[in-house]
Structure formats: C-alpha cells, structure tokens
C-alpha cells in the first residue's frame, strides 16, 4: 500500500474512533459528560486535559524548533510544563471553589463590574485567536504534506475541516473522546522516538537514549551532535542560548504564566468534582504532558543528527541532489523545504554561512512529521504520526474555538449586552463567532508571524500579560478593586500588543511593522514572543498602585474571596447567576 493511501486509512480510522466514542458515550448518559465530572476520575480528567492542552505547537512544531535551537529551545519545555505548577497552586482549586463556568464570569464577579468582564472577554479573544493562528500553521503543514499540495491549499482544506469539526462541537466536551485523542497522539509521538533511539543508541527509552553513547561507539550522542553542528559553523547544540539568557528567562516566564492564564485550560478545572481533585488533576495532566515533553528533546536532537547525516553522509562528502531521498522530494512539493545549488556542483552543501549554504529553506515545523521518513521507519509509523499531529491540532483548535464562542455568546451577549437572549439565538451567535474566528485565524495563517510554536508563544504572552495577574490578585488579595484590575489588564495587554505589533506588524500583517523584528530594536534584548512576562509585571504594578489610590472592594466581595480560599462548602459548577 502506498504511503498516501495508508495515511488516509489511519487518519480516517482515528476519526471514526473519535466519532464512534462520542456517539457511544452520548448514548450512555448525557448529563455525566456535560457536567464533566460525576464519575470521572482525576487520572482520566488529567489525560483529557493533556489532549486538550497539547496542540500542533507541542506535537508538530516544538521538537523541530528545539532541533534547530538546541539548548535555547528549552524555553518551550520548561515554560509549557512549569505553568502547571502555578495553575495547581495559585488558581485551579480556588476557581473550582468559585464554581462558575467561564473565566470572564469570575473576573466580572470578583471585580463587581460588567466593564471588567468585557475587558476579560477582549483579552481572552485576542489571546485565543492568536493561538488558533498557530494551530492553523501546524494543520496547514500537515495537510500540505499528506495531500501532496502546497502549504496554502493545505491550509484552506484544514480550515474547512476545523470548521466542520468545531461546529459538530459536542465532541469537544466529551472526556472519553479526548482520552482517545491523547492515546493516539502520545502513541504517535513516542513510537517513532523509540525506534530512532534504538537505531542510534540501542536504548529504547528516548529519555535515556539522549544521554547514551552512539551504537557501536563510545562517543555520547550529544557530544557527537555538538561536534557535527560546530563543524558546519553552527552554535554548539547543548549550550547555545540562541538570543541571550535574559531573553530565555523572560520567554520561559511568559510561557509559564500564560499556561496558567489560558481560558481553555482553566475551564477544565472548573468542572472536576471537588476542590481536592482540582489539585491532583493538574498533577495528572502534567504527568501525561511530561511523557511527550521529556521525549521531545530526544526527538529534536536525533532528528537534527539524522538530518545532518543525510546531507553529509561522511566527512566532507555532501548529498548528491539528484540522488536525494524520497522524503526530500515529498517535502519540496509543499514549498516548505528548498535547495539551491549555488556552486553548481550537483551536491547540497549545508553550513551556517549564508553565501555557501544550499539548504536554503527548511521550515522547522516539518521536522517532526518528516522525522520518521528521515530515519527510514516503516510507512505505518509515518501515517500514525500524521494522525497524531491532526489529533493534537484539531482537539486544541476545537477547544479554543469553543472558548472564543462561549466568551462572545455567553459572557458578552447574554451576560452584558442582551440578557434576555433566547437559547437558539445564543447558539446561533456562538456558531457565527466560531466561523468568524476560523476565518480570521486562517487568513492570518497564510502568513503566520512565526513557526507554529512561536505563534502560540505570542498567544501565551498575551494571556500572561492580561488574564493571569487579574485572576491571581483576585484570589490572593482582597484589596485589589475594579479600577485596579481593569487598568492592570488594559495596561498589560496594551503594552504587550503594542510591542508585538511594532515588531511583527499590526494584526501580524508583516508589512505594517513599524520597527523591524531585529535584536537591536528590542527592549532589553527581549524578543516579542517573550514579552508577555514584562506585560504581566506591568499589569501587577498598575493594578496594585491604582487599587491603593481608590476605595477598597465592598464587603460582600471580600467575603467572596474568603469563601473561595477554603474548600469547605463547594458546590458543583453552575451557570446560574
């Protein structure tokens, strides 16, 4: 069977599985799944949260970025896992006790203000739409490769499928479907990693393989990789911090705070049965996430090594272009991989020197998908990786679209603008919002501001600078009032957006950037992707300063804060006001 038909088969089979589970589960007991709690064990909830959380950025993009960044790519690994520590200790149990369904609802009640709720909705929409752009980039890459079309057409097809998937909607809320998606994606990610680790080091555990010696030699894999990349003039793999350690610090902080501030992740903890479960659910979610996140560095380093070996099979002997392997031909069709034979010798030289480097374009987002092909693994593994990547991208995109549409229909329309809206109208508004978000994100996905993981990092920065500080202060301070919170959110979001737009273009349209995206233009050398941490600091400072100058919150709000601080007396989440 050819790779293409095998891919259709595997992707089709996994989709049939998700839909089948959805139908079966719905027939069981509808209520159980919509209240998403009842009998669902924290381990199961953790697995579902992991599927919801790990997107195209984690699955398709991250390891590829690390492959080219080396040590500097650690920001994604630490940032996207460390945020769960903040979530478990600073937000999840208290928001669970509060017992409502959406993040803007909490902000509106805690800061006793509809204006605060609207500001929260705006922050949420901006961060989520940016996040969806990143997913679209990943989906576009995956579809372009497996349908053997160029990236733009792949993205267009992807948009249509996301729309269909998200509007079917109900699937998203069903925990068992997400557990199935988790199983598919983790299996798809680890199987190739195990094979490649075995091939290179003889150790089947990728986490150990990365620290082992090469098969049949006593040179450590990482030392070998360091030597190979340095040979071609690149920075040493295990020590290069890319831009600077200061930038890494802010980048990591921004991703951590953003993780704890993203609405679609927080929502998962609103619906566990007990406050206690909110704490352990976060732990289980991180266990399942960590399986992928500790494997990713091995995938990254081994993919880089295999790529180098393909292009330079032996010292100074470069690949003959006409004899290039099939995977290179396949990826060339997508326009995401390009060679230019500058010196006309029919061979492909690869080096860090612009003038002689002939691997002129290698989109980092193709690495994970190409990895099993580069390593020469069987076709079924390659097909499985495609299914895993799509599971990751679609589950997260659907979750985000649901968060966006509920913010508009539930928080904005029903909560503020039109309180007596009918359920039908609310549902219609949410569909329109979903379609709008897909169109905007898809359109911007044709010229994404960065690789998938970089774009997603921007979304995290926006969530970090706006939502997280307002939530945290709402729980840990009784003094922060509505004036402070609103000013803080606006200041944090405003400064981060301004910084991102001035370097990346207004609404990410590159030609409108008024300051080039280059290190000398950066504030303290911090790149736009990492700026959310600065925005968050400003948010805290502004909120505290303004709250001090204005009256304290009313007593009933202070009592609310007292009550969310203790688990006793919690009730199941409800949407009633």
């Amino acid at each position: 069977m050819t790779l293409t038909s095998l891919t259709y088969l595997v992707v089709g089979a996994t989709f049939a599985l998700y839909i089948g589970i959805a139908i079966w589960a719905r027939a069981g007991s509808t209520k159980e799944f919509y209240i998403a709690g009842g009998g669902i064990h924290p381990i199961a909830n953790g697995m579902a949260t992991a599927a919801d959380w790990m997107s195209a950025a984690s699955f398709i993009s991250m390891a590829g970025l690390i492959a080219f960044m080396g040590y500097g790519g650690s920001v994604f690994l630490m940032g996207w896992t460390g945020g769960y520590v903040l979530l478990a200790m600073l937000l999840a149990p208290y928001l669970r006790k509060f017992g409502k369904f959406t993040v803007p609802e909490f902000i509106g009640d805690r800061y006793y203000s509809k204006a605060a709720r609207i500001v929260a909705v705006i922050c949420l929409i901006i961060a989520s739409v940016t996040y969806v752009i990143g997913q679209m980039k990943g989906i576009g890459v995956a579809f372009s490769r497996f349908l053997e079309v160029d990236y733009d057409l792949g993205l267009t097809i992807g948009m249509a499928i996301v729309f269909f998937y998200a509007v079917m909607g109900g699937m998203k809320g069903i925990t068992y479907t997400q557990i199935a998606q988790y199983c598919v994606l983790i299996f798809a990610f680890t199987i190739p990693a195990v094979f490649i680790s075995l091939n290179l080091t003889g150790n089947p555990v990728p986490q150990l393989g990365l620290g082992s010696t090469m098969l049949g030699s006593d040179v450590y894999l990482l030392d070998k990789l360091d030597a190979v990349v340095k040979d071609l003039g690149f920075a040493e793999y295990t020590t290069s911090a890319r831009i600077s350690q200061t930038n890494m610090f802010f980048y990591t902080m921004s991703l951590m705070i953003g993780t704890a501030g993203l609405p679609h992740v927080i929502i998962r903890f609103f619906t566990v049965p007990k406050v206690k479960d909110a704490r352990s659910s976060a732990g289980w979610a991180l266990v399942f996430i960590a399986i992928l996140y500790t494997t990713a560095p091995s995938v990254a380093a081994m993919a880089r090594l295999n790529l180098m070996n393909t292009i330079e099979p032996s010292d100074g002997e470069y690949m003959v272009y006409e004899a290039r392997p099939q995977w290179i031909r396949n990826w060339e069709q997508t326009g995401l991989l390009e060679f230019t034979d500058k010196n006309g010798d029919g061979r492909i030289q690869y080096s860090s020197d612009e003038a002689t480097n002939e691997l002129t374009k290698v989109d980092n987002d193709i690495m994970v998908l190409a990895n099993p092909e580069i390593a020469g693994l069987p076709n079924w593994v390659i097909a499985l990786v495609a299914a895993g990547g799509l599971a990751a991208a679609l589950s997260t995109a659907a979750g985000l679209l649901l968060a966006i549409s509920s913010a508009i229909s539930h928080d904005l329309l029903k909560g503020v603008l039109k309180p007596n809206i009918t359920e039908r109208e609310e549902l219609f508004a949410s569909r329109v919002a979903m379609a709008g978000a897909i169109a905007v994100a898809g359109y911007l996905g044709f010229n994404p501001p960065d690789f998938a993981a970089g774009t997603v990092a921007l979304a995290f920065g926006l969530a970090a600078s706006s939502i997280f500080p307002a939530l945290m202060m709402g729980i840990f301070s009784k003094r922060v009032n509505k004036q402070g919170a609103i000013a803080g959110m606006l200041a944090g979001l405003g400064v981060t957006l301004l910084y991102v737009f001035q370097h990346k273009g207004i609404m990410f349209v590159q030609s409108t950037a008024f300051l080039g995206d280059l290190p000398p233009n950066w504030f303290f050398g911090i790149e736009p992707n990492a700026f959310g941490a600065v925005g968050a600091l400003l948010n805290f400072a502004v909120a505290i300063a303004i709250s001090r100058a204005t009256p304290a919150p009313p007593t009933e709000v202070q009592d609310l804060v007292d009550s969310i601080r203790v688990p006793k007396g919690s009730e199941a989440a409800s949407t009633s006001h």
Binding site: I66, Y71, S74, L77, M78, T81, G82, Y84, V85, L86, A88, M89, L90, P93, Q207, L208, L210, G211, S212, T213, Y220, L221, L222, D223, T238, T239, Q245, M248, F249, T252, M253, K274, V275, K276, R279, S280, A282, G283, L286, V287, A290, Y293, T294, P297, D559, D562, S563, R565, V566, P567, K568, G569, S570
Partner: protein, 84 residues
C-alpha cells in the same frame, strides 16, 4: 467568616505555596538558565547537568511538586476542618 482557624489555614497554605514556588524557581530558572553554564561542567551520562535540568530534570521536579502540594494541602484541609 474570619475565624482564627481559617487565618491559620490560609497562612499555612501560603507558606506551603511559597516553599513549592522556591523549588519551582530554582530547578527551572536557577539550574536551567541562570546557573546553567556552571552546572554544565558536571555530567549525568551524556547529558551536561545544566542542559539536563533545562530539558529533562525540571519537568520531573514539576510533576513531583504538584503531587507533594496536593498531598500536603489535603492534610491541611483536614487539620483545619475545612475539607469538603
């Protein structure tokens, strides 16, 4: 409801969170970024130690930390009679 036991409970909670966040900061920002060059002189197998913390070790510590926190909070809830 501001009973003395609630105030004790809250400050015990804050102490526990502070302890956990210090560890959280040290293994990631400390070992993984600030002290990485110094730690890289040591090794675990083929891993330089600082690199290992940045790409592996910090993640394992995060997982352990959350379970430790959940376990200790469960005990605190019971001690102060605020559990569900």
């Amino acid at each position: 409801m501001k009973t003395p036991t609630r105030i004790d409970y809250w400050s015990a909670n804050l102490r526990l969170v502070a302890l956990c966040l210090v560890i959280w900061f040290v293994v990631s920002f400390g070992f993984g970024i600030i002290l990485v060059d110094w730690l890289n002189q040591f090794r675990i197998g083929g891993y330089k130690l600082g690199f290992w913390f940045a790409q592996q070790g910090s993640i394992y510590v995060f997982v352990a930390l959350i379970f430790f926190y959940a376990y200790r909070m469960g005990k605190l809830d019971k001690q102060h009679d605020v559990d569900e």
